[in-house]
Structure formats: structure tokens, C-alpha cells
């Protein structure tokens, strides 16, 4: 009976193996955006479009006619962004954003902005809830 499975098992195992190899090789392409640190240290200025992600630094947002000037940071490095395009509703200082455009070596020229919100779900009612983490530690 085992022998009859071989004709299914062999292709199945090969397919899974191929998938794993693909995923490992595609890892670099699976990075949705670059950080300001990567932008400043690894990425050469060019006309190629790329995505830059980081938090909007408080006090850096300036509306300048049709464009928006802002600085995004990953906590280590910061990059200046000139954004010409739609500003999402949740845009705010301290918010995570992903801008898409080109990097000229000193400024990132963006025409598309996405919000990258965090994984925290907090109530806005100013009640301090005992964190679940804390409760687990106590038990």
C-alpha cells in the first residue's frame, strides 16, 4: 500500500521543497519597504522607484503648497521626504508611513503614501488596563 503513495508523495515533497527554496531566494523581494538606515547606507541614488518606511518625526511636517515636507525615522537614521500626492486620513506625527518614489541621495521624492499602523489595539478611554503580559507573569 505504501508503494502506491510514492507517485503522489514524491511530487508533493518536491513541490514543498521548491516552495521553500523559492521563499528563501525571494526573501529579499519579500521586503515591502526599506528603512531610512538602509536608504542612507546601502541604496545608491537612482531613478528606480522604491518604498521607504518609517515613523513621521514630530515637528518636521511642513505643508508647502502642493507638497508636504516630512522626515521619517527608524529610530537610528532619518530621511527627508518631499511628498506630492494624496495624504491618507490617518497621517499624523509619530504615525508609521510608507512612501513610494525615488531617492536622489539627499531627499526622497514620493508621490504615494500608505499608513503602516502598529499591532496595538488600545481603547482611547484613558483607563489603564492591567496588561495581559503582566497578568501572565503573576500567575
Amino acid at each position: 500500500m505504501i508503494r502506491r503513495y510514492w507517485k503522489f508523495l514524491v511530487p508533493a515533497v518536491l513541490a514543498v521543497g521548491l516552495l521553500i527554496v523559492l521563499l528563501i531566494n525571494l526573501s529579499s523581494n519579500l521586503v515591502y519597504f526599506q528603512t531610512p538606515t538602509e536608504l542612507l547606507t546601502e541604496i545608491e541614488p537612482s531613478e528606480n522607484r522604491l518604498r521607504l518606511g518609517g515613523q513621521v518625526v514630530a515637528g518636521t511636517v511642513v505643508e508647502n503648497g502642493e507638497t508636504l515636507l516630512l522626515t521619517v525615522t527608524d529610530g537610528r537614521e532619518s530621511a527627508a521626504v518631499v511628498h506630492a500626492g494624496v495624504i491618507p486620513q490617518l497621517f499624523a506625527e509619530g504615525q508609521g508611513v510608507i512612501v513610494e518614489g525615488t531617492w536622489d541621495g539627499s531627499t526622497f521624492h514620493s508621490d504615494s503614501m500608505l499608513i503602516r499602523h502598529d499591532e496595538q489595539y488600545r481603547t482611547g478611554d484613558d483607563v489603564v488596563y492591567d496588561s495581559v503580559e503582566h497578568q501572565l507573569d503573576d500567575s
Binding site: 521586503v31 502598529d118 488596563y129 495581559v132
Partner: protein, 246 residues
Amino acid sequence: MSDATRTRIGALDIVATVSVVFALVFAIASPRIESQGEAARLLFVHVPTIWLAYLAFAVTFVASILYLATRRLRWDHVAGASAEIGVVFTTVAIIGGMVWGKATWNVYWTWDARLTLTAIMLFVYIGYLALRRVIAEPEARARRSAVLGIVGLVQLIPVHFSVTWWRTLHQTNTFRPRDIQMDGPILAALLVSVAAFTVVYAALLRHRVRLEGLELAAYAAAAAPVGPVAGDAVSAPNIGNSGAQP
């Protein structure tokens, strides 16, 4: 339609309906999610639907193994029915996620790792359902789809951990071991919703498995001649031997 084939609404269906209404009340009554606003209430649909997809595909996996181990077609029916429900809820999770994505990210769809892998998972299971429709013979169908039902589950690992392994637009997992990034009242409403959707899954699975049993009975009835075949009463003419007749 005979009495045996009629779908009856059972206690489970009533419990499922009531618990969904209950979950909706909790979702509306839950405190506002501070960082995102009202659109984030889609959380109470998005998370339970993708949970159901995971659960459904896991049940398909287990039932496929049990089919191969026992050769009882009942397990094949569970596997097929569960995958069907999983496909429906993966679709709902993606559509709900798109609406939520437009409201918060400012985009319906983008090819980040989480979204892409979830779409691939959906298409693999649509392929599984297609496979089940290609093969008519119940035993062969059960055996071949069981293989895909087992292998298919592997995808759930990269789908779930994509947000941790790669940089994505989708936020990382809120539920981490010993560390849940969610306040109590929101978590309570979410758990009610997850429980309610799970009851809906159980109710749908029960009906769908029963239908698979009826389909099998119909297949068996069509394959096996039950009564006298038309033309049976006519005997073949006795050509070339007429002279020998008394």
C-alpha cells in the same frame, strides 16, 4: 423531495445565529480603537474569518489523514466540506481586509508578503475544490484530494508568520506568546466574535457533510442498476436458426 433529504434547522443553527447577533452587539459596544477609529471595528470580522479559514484547513488536514488511515468516506466528506467553508471564509477575510486596508492604509490591495501568501493559499484551496470536482469515482477522489489536503496545510505557516519573517505593510501579529497587544474590553469582544464564528463553522460543516453523504448515495444509485433495464423484456431475435423451431 423526500423527508430524508430535506434540510432541517437544528439547535446548532439557532445557537450559531444567536451567537453572531450577540457578537455584533459586542463589536458595536466595544470601546473605540484609539489609533485607527471606527473602521478598525472590522477587526471583529477580519480576525474571526481568517481564524475560521485556519481552523477549516486544519480540519481538512486531519480528516484527510484519517481518511487515508481508515478509508472511511465519511472523513473525505469532512475534509471536502471543511475546505469549502475555509475557501468562503478566506474570501470574506480578504474582502473585509481590503475594506479595512482602504480605510487605514489608504490602499485596497498591495503585493506585500502577507497579502500575497494569503491569496496563494486561497487559490491552492480553490484548486483543491476543483480537484474534488474532476474525479467522479468516490474512492479515487478521496485518495487524491487527501494528499492535497495534507500537503496544503504547510502554507499556513508562512501565511501566519509572514508578518514576522518579512517586512510587510500588514502589521505584525497582535497575539504573541505571553504578550497580547490588545486592551481587555477589545479582547473580550474579539473572543466573543471568534467563538460565535466557530459555532457558525460547526453548523455549516454539519449541513455540508450531510449533503456530501446524500451526494454519495445519489452517485451510488446512478452507478448501480437498481430496477429492470428498459428492453430487458425483449429477447434477441433468433436469426439463422428459424428452421429448427418446432
